[in-house]
Point group: D2
Chain length 287, copies 4
């Protein structure tokens, strides 16, 4: 027939693993959404219904929960690496695994000025992410964040752009710039990384660069953010952004006898600009 | 025919009003979702298609944006009250208006240890709400919050409950208690309220009471939270809660030779417990 | 203190009950989302943490699943009524129960022109609903549907409306009218109802009336739909609508040298009009 | 520094284009969600804030709406191809474009047994998709559907799988198999395709194959579905699936004295199995 199986993978998605560390009265919480997948020679399962090489997705789920105890969760990255290695080891036909983790942050509830021992409030805002790609050759770690929603109420323009017969957009000297940022950075393999500290530093650097860069386009802002991260973190090989341009349109209040010098906006849902860019190192710089 | 029009209202929902205050280089932002509705004698629009007494929902939208400039947004409550009064005044057939506002909080981005003048990051977490019910007799203000997600990793039990032939739940001496709280408190009409300060105080009190109350059921915790608010705020007449019991089930790790003394949980989506309760003042106490 | 418990209820929300009838090779499927709540004297649970009168929400869940077998699901209404009665019977402190059911429709997959015995495709579109309010005096049944999304590409105008200083909307002689309808109709207590047949008839009548009524406002269309239902169904006491006016704005193509006589629209998300109306019978007509 | 711009693209996402064909009293409707993106040499916009080669996303939006009139929408594929070509032509720096279209289906409302001329009800169920990748060499068309939710109440087993120390899943002789299918098929470049007819045929074939294939795993079912499509459609080069295994767990009713021979299930949300597979042609078969 000439019809064959192409790329495939299978796993268990969105295991909601919550790990409480209660070795002392001052508890810690890690709140994760874990997805696993295996790749390898699983052709027989597809073509003949033969499951003998298939580690069930239910087992993958059990392993995700068991490893929250057995290995612990000091960082999403270390946990995900351990989980990926286990899944490949347990599955002779597997040549690789992918583990994705989202982490939701919690703060201690403040009582009389101090953080409570075992009561927490979910922080909201961005979600921390990590993605492990484990193959027989290497383990790639791509960490990141999603839904970091930022806005500048000035310091942003958009002008000098290409125009064609369908262009009606006026040039803007001063506009709101807002996005719900997704950033993903791939670590170079240079030895031990302090995952949690690096995450906090990259997040702070992204925010500060967004704040302090005069923006002539969201593209320019993203590039500046990426460059700042790569300059500060030699163990990061590249960083990618997906950034919806969340439009805030100035409302025309003139019909009501009101000026509107950048004060009242309507936040639009759809459509939105969508800017995607990777900032990377020159080839011979990553060796 | 004996068929008649019953209760009805109409308006514009989810106007995404963003107000920047830029009188100085240090900008402020108020980010609102505003819904308006009018009630009154609009029977002719329903039965005869006669729109002569109908202020269009498009006009209601325009008014919501214009008032963000004309009246400003020092608090959602003051803005919503002004908007409700305007809509009723502009519509002779109206006998009342309802205005709902959700407010999304933003923090200044921190650069070199200080909050930036015009760059912000959305805080996430709970949404502040207010609901104005304006009638010819009175203006009721119900303020609140929604999606305040809290969790206690100990200090919660559930036992001694009623059992029937469908009961399989074991008693729990120590469990996770978590909810995504919605609270709505109605202000008594006692003169000027400091809306923003009161909001912050109620929020802090809800959190602290949740943290410090040993819980024998979510019902008991909610009642304690409500009582604390009413005791501290004589200008609040009553407070209502809607609290999904976000179940965290202890995972059985015994098949894998692992103990699980309250350390690894699966956070469940559905079904969830749903607890609703109002805490109020005795009738002669509210006069 | 004068602080007391006000209205309250508790239960288990969103039990995803799927019932397969497999008495013959030609299976049937009922796919439900069931929420239950109990009301009554549960003050001790709130004020003293005393659960002795509290039938756990976990038990309510078990009962919902057990009744899908014991009672069966010939209609959401009959199932919900039986479940509500059981929950009140099992709970001495309860004075009433509320049971909400959403039903998702499935069609048989067509193979060689005939519906398959045991393979189904989810229909999508509207969700059928029912809500039982059981008290010591009566059982109220409110059935309905939600998310019935309908659109007329002509036969709709909006003009002659009230204007004020914030009105900019032009009159429209011909516009798109679209809504995602929620309708809820309350049955009078007149004896046995054919729940499934009545649902199908009401749905068809709502659609046909929407299609064939020239619309001078969404209000007029809703009233006509309600009247048609009440006229055809003496066992329905009243019907309520919640109808977002899903705006479709004509796109201005003139800058591109193109006419746009009602052909190209942008479907807007927010804000949207929100029209709510009840059509009922005169008081002496319902006795 | 050795820091450079990597892969990037930009565009306007989720333009909600609604096209009414009203050349005769019997209207037609096409309801689309259109996303566009351009790729090429846009480095200056990133590194220097130079927009002179950047066709604004606002212009891309205008073009999407204008082309719904100028070109029309006889199929999502033809419309998207025309739009992609226009965007590349209008942008000298562009080397390629991606256009994604989702289409929402509407049915005519039935009145007195016949479909109405200009009143429609949204069908619900699956969304039709197409994705155009236009480069200087070729235009790739990948059509598909998403959220086609199907279920078999018998004819599915899962056994003989690999077991390790974390495996607790019992073997299943008879289970519910359900998924919300996403399928994407790439057309070979063999000349004129009847896009609408092919879509309908592939959809019907996917459903029929799902229904009639005894399933020893979701993998096997997907492979059978893919093979059936490739066998019937020589102009389709390959087909990919993303299929969440929507678990339906048999509820244990034994504590209540009830048997449950495959009759009552709980439909679970998370976690879910996630099976991804491509079925393709052998290399020399596609030439």
């Amino acid at each position: 027939m000439g019809i064959v199986l192409g790329p495939n993978q299978y796993g268990k998605a969105e295991n909601r693993v919550v790990r409480i560390v209660r070795d002392t009265p001052r508890h810690e919480i890690r709140d994760l959404n874990v997805s696993t997948a295996l790749r390898g020679d699983f052709a027989a399962a597809h073509t003949d219904g033969d499951q003998s090489q298939v580690l069930p997705t239910d087992t993958q789920k059990n392993t995700a929960f068991a490893f929250a105890k057995r290995h612990g969760v000091t960082s999403p990255e270390d946990y995900a690496l351990a989980l990926a290695r286990r899944l490949v080891e347990a599955t002779p036909a597997a040549t690789g695994a992918r583990v994705l983790v989202e982490e939701y942050a919690w703060d201690r509830i403040v009582v009389d000025g101090a953080g409570h021992d075992h009561a927490f409030v979910r922080r909201g805002g961005e979600v921390r992410t990590t993605e492990i790609e484990l193959s027989s050759e290497a383990a790639h770690v791509v960490s990141g964040l999603t839904d970091l929603t930022v806005l500048k109420s000035t310091g942003s323009e958009f002008k000098g752009f290409l125009k064609d017969e369908y262009t009606t957009l006026p040039e803007a000297d001063d506009r709101i710039l807002a996005t719900a940022l997704t950033a993903r950075w791939r670590y170079a393999d240079r030895g031990r990384i302090e995952w949690n500290a690096t995450y906090a530093e990259v997040r702070a650097l992204l925010l500060a660069t967004f704040a302090t860069t005069y923006s002539r386009a969201l593209q320019e802002t993203l590039y500046a953010m990426g460059r700042a991260v790569l300059e500060a973190h030699p163990d990061i090989a590249e960083i990618s952004f997906v950034a919806p341009n969340k439009h805030h349109f100035l409302v025309d209040l003139a019909p009501f006898g009101l000026a509107n010098p950048g004060e009242v906006f309507i936040a639009a849902d759809r459509p939105y600009g969508l800017i995607e860019a990777t900032v990377t190192r020159e080839a011979d710089d990553d060796g």
